[in-house]
């Protein structure tokens, strides 16, 4: 039984670990996660380059089809993400970052649906680095907006003995942020793989892929982006 499960795990995307020795330190890389991340990055860059051709400068009376579609996409992202920011200045500053995060996570989640590909977000290191990025961005912004003094004072509010609780709360944010995305994507992948290998190899997996890969992937990407907005808001407002 356990051998079967271990065999199942190998279906979930083989782990190819590269070890680089750097003067006593061993640095380990998961090759598949890195390759898949680069696939997503190349996909996004290529899409941007290709779609840019359809744009007309200056904007005319009648936009092209791609222009209209991209306008719709940006309008949707603006209404869903940018309007949640605490201030207009913050929204202008952070909207590109958050929408890029959304697009990256969305394409990462959807990559798992393509045969022979795996979602980079089903690797804990990828989601954790994204969450740490949001963590550092929110704290740097908090220092920039409030000044170092008010920023440090935020940790001892409302009372000084609350400091450990505040610190744990700050550390828990990127942890839960990373685990949420990772857990959801990994659970979907495991479920689809178990059904595919054990029960029904033909008709059922695509349906499950649509539900877990596309639908949940989209929702989780949106949740990841909107939580980034919420964390930045909380950090800036104190």
């Amino acid at each position: 039984m356990f051998e079967q499960l271990a065999e199942l795990l190998t279906h979930l995307g083989e782990k190819r670990i590269a070890v680089v020795s750097l003067s006593g330190f061993e640095i380990r890389f998961d090759i598949m996660a890195i390759i898949m991340s680069w696939v997503v990055i190349l996909l996004l860059v290529l899409l941007a380059l290709v779609l840019r051709r359809g744009l007309r400068q200056p904007v005319e009376e009648k936009p092209t089809r791609t222009q209209a579609a991209l306008d719709g996409l940006i309008g949707l992202l603006k209404s869903q993400l940018a309007d949640n920011f605490a201030s207009e200045r913050l929204a202008i500053m952070m909207f590109p970052f958050v929408s890029t995060l959304f697009l990256y996570v969305l394409f990462s989640n959807w990559l798992g649906v393509v045969p022979y590909m795996m979602s980079p977000t089903q690797d804990i290191n990828v989601t954790f680095s994204l969450a740490l990025l949001v963590f550092f961005v929110s704290h740097v912004l908090a220092i920039r907006f409030n000044g170092p003094r008010r920023y440090l004072k935020g940790f001892v509010e409302p009372y000084a003995f609350m400091l450990p609780i505040n610190l744990v709360g700050e550390i828990a944010k990127p942890l839960s942020h990373a685990f949420r995305l990772f857990g959801n994507i990994l659970a979907g992948t495991i479920l689809v793989t178990v059904v595919m290998v054990k029960f029904a190899p033909v008709v059922v997996p695509p349906v499950l892929q649509i539900f877990f890969g596309l639908f949940f992937g989209g929702i989780q990407a949106f949740v990841f982006a909107i939580l980034a907005v919420a964390y930045i808001n909380v950090a800036v407002e104190g």
């Binding site: 499960l5 271990a6 949420r180 857990g183 659970a187 495991i190 909107i226 939580l227 919420a230």
Partner: protein
């Protein structure tokens, strides 16, 4: 002494028992851990629906807040899932 005699008869070793315990623990972990998030997400959806029925023009904001709240509620379920995965594949 008694245990050794029993295991010699039945052919069940301590490793087998540990493996079985892992599966039982993972199943319990997921089953019990899913109760809380399920109730919480249901409550969030129910109240969001209440609000939408009362004020349909607020639908966009309510939907957004509902999804955000459900995602945060889900975190505990995800934690139990992680523990179940660790029990199954890592330990």
């Amino acid at each position: 002494m008694l245990q050794e005699a029993q295991s010699a008869v039945s052919g069940i070793s301590g490793a087998d028992i540990a493996t079985a315990a892992k599966y039982v623990a993972a199943g319990l972990c997921m089953g019990i851990g899913a109760i809380g998030p399920a109730i919480g997400e249901g409550l969030a959806a129910a109240h969001a629906l209440d609000g939408m029925a009362r004020q349909p023009e607020m639908q966009g904001a309510l939907l957004r807040t509902m999804v955000l709240g459900q995602a945060i509620t889900e975190t505990t379920g995800i934690y139990s899932l992680l523990i179940a995965i660790v029990l199954l594949f890592v330990i």
